[in-house]
């Protein structure tokens, strides 16, 4: 491993200085299938990294492996300078308090109301008065574009887009330093998606939030992502800014960023 490093003195394109998340040679899969094989990626502090790739290529698997929900077969992952899988229960809990995860399908707690869902992490990790928790929960819900009257609804009474928003509010409940978002804007109308983008941008600017975002939304990629990572052939094939993506000659990357849909976007 180190031998290889010394042979290639130039830092690889995915490396950044002082990364908040550092993934090296990650291998992960299910049973006999390997979904990720040698993924390496850095996420810089305070950046918004978009992760794209074909459906079923393993973006969600990568996200879940990084946050430690799926075991990895090989490779190293460091978040905040520590390997989440190696931490003891206490340190792990402290770590989890510093990140928020939005799952692809929302994963709201079905037997709690919307307000309780957002308050749940606060209740577990902080000692706050009931009033403050209520107010902050409502404020968070309003920030993600919901009105206060959804508070007492249960998740089964929400629309698909509303579920996404509540899930985002819950992921942001503790003002984490990193948020992992799995397709946050899918299921939102374009206006809602744009509001979402500007919210993420605001939080990045004011709180220094780091965002790892899996998305298929070209507008989001254009509007908020500082860098984009492309997952293909079980690996991260390129990482870079939108300009890098547009200049790339990889067939899939070309088709993705310069295909009919993206052209339609630029003409409009």
């Amino acid at each position: 491993m180190d031998a290889i490093r010394t042979v290639t003195p130039r830092a690889a394109a995915f490396e950044v200085e002082d990364p908040i998340i550092r993934v090296r040679d990650l291998v992960s899969g299910f049973g006999t299938t390997t979904v990720l094989d040698g993924v390496s990626l850095d996420v810089a502090r305070g950046e918004i990294l978009g992760c794209v790739g074909a459906s079923g290529i393993g973006k969600s698997v990568m996200l879940r492996t990084i946050v430690g929900l799926l075991p990895r077969r090989a490779g190293t992952i460091t978040v905040f300078g520590a390997d989440p899988a190696r931490l003891g229960a206490r340190a792990r809990r402290a770590l989890e308090r510093r990140w928020g995860v939005l799952f692809q399908h929302g994963a709201l707690f079905s037997s709690l109301t919307v307000r309780q869902n957002v308050q749940f992490p606060m209740r577990e990790h902080l000692r706050l008065s009931r009033r403050l928790m209520d107010e902050v929960a409502v404020a968070k819900l309003e920030m993600v574009g919901l009105s206060a009257d959804v508070c007492e609804k249960t998740p089964s009474e929400l629309s698909g887009g509303m579920i996404k928003r509540v899930a985002l509010a819950r992921a942001l409940a503790l003002d984490p330093e990193i948020v992992f978002l799995d397709e946050p804007t899918s299921g939102l109308d374009p206006i809602g998606a744009a509001e979402f983008d500007s919210l993420i941008k605001t939080l990045q600017r004011t709180l220094g939030l780091t965002v790892f975002m899996v998305t298929h939304d070209l507008d989001s990629l254009h509007a908020v992502c500082d860098r984009i990572a492309v997952l293909a052939d079980r690996q991260v094939i390129t990482v870079g800014t939108m300009a890098t993506m547009l200049a790339s000659e990889h067939p899939w990357v070309r088709a993705y960023f310069r295909g009919t849909r993206s052209r339609a976007r630029r003409v409009a």
Binding site: S110, A139, L172
Partner: protein
Amino acid sequence: MSDALLDISLKDGRLALAASGAWTAERAGDLERRIDSAAKRARSATTVEIRMGGVERLDTFGAWLLERLVRAVASAGREAQVVDLPERYRDLLEEAHRANRTAVSAPRTNPLGDALETLGRGTVGILRDLVLIVQMFGEVAVALLRVLVRPWTFRFTSTVHHLDRVGWRAVPVILLMTFLLGCIIAQQGIFHFRRFGVEVYVVDMVGILVLREIGVLMTAIMIAGRSGSAYTAELGSMKMREEIDALRTMGFDPLEVLVLPRLVALVIALPALAFVGSMAALYGAGLVCQLYGMSPEVFLARLKDAISLDDFLVGMIKAPFMALVIGVVASVEGLQVKGSAESLGLNTTASVVKAIFLMIGLDGAFAIFFASIGM
């Protein structure tokens, strides 16, 4: 000083508040107390100035508390001047400024009213359950008729699959349970009857008890716990994930596709299991009797005298009806599941409890019926 978070000083009617430290989620509890006491002091001040220059970090918790303070001061008829706010936090404060504008009124509660409401809902719930069960019986009957008219629509594969699950795979546990029951009843009987020197009557007791009641009832209770609950959980989670709606939109009747095969499997399996169970119980009783010195020949001869075909039939006739009760209650409860995981749990519990309760009631009704026709 960074521990104080908010330094409060009131001089000549001028309230000067100086923020410091980290206004973040961790400190929000302490900060809230400081903010509230500052808001109280603001009432006796003429001007209020909040210096935000000293904050090291600010997140939405801090931003909201600042906004709360500003609003509290405003509601006291003063205006709060926020000065020195670092530029990068301006947007966050804007967000906080827009938040919590509409008051959410918590629903009022009244303990007596709530208790009455619970009672009323419970009563209505029982009646509604009965209606739903009767309705399900009707719908199943109609579905059955439809299938009889067009036999090729019957889900044969699915039925066999469920038969394997609820019938074949239940055999070991049923055998073991009823065998032990037979042993226990015989042992207890011998213990008491021996005092009167009439041990042989144990065989009468075991024979009649097992064939008429215990064999079928215990098997049915076991199946309600084992398969009724599984049916409810399956149908319930399918309901939760809109799978049942999907079936409907494709033109399938969920009753025909999901409920009927399960019900048919149960109606076939339960009598078979009850039979196997009864035999195991008699075998267990025979074994214990032998341990206590009654030879198998004597046991069998006595059993032949003690029981009649009627006893056996009484047990067996009840079995398919019990199966129907289990299946119908399980289906009703399964289709009642709402969106939450909690309701899935509630309905699964209710399915087992109601099925067992109804089965015991049914058993009583059968006892009266058989007594009056002399069986």
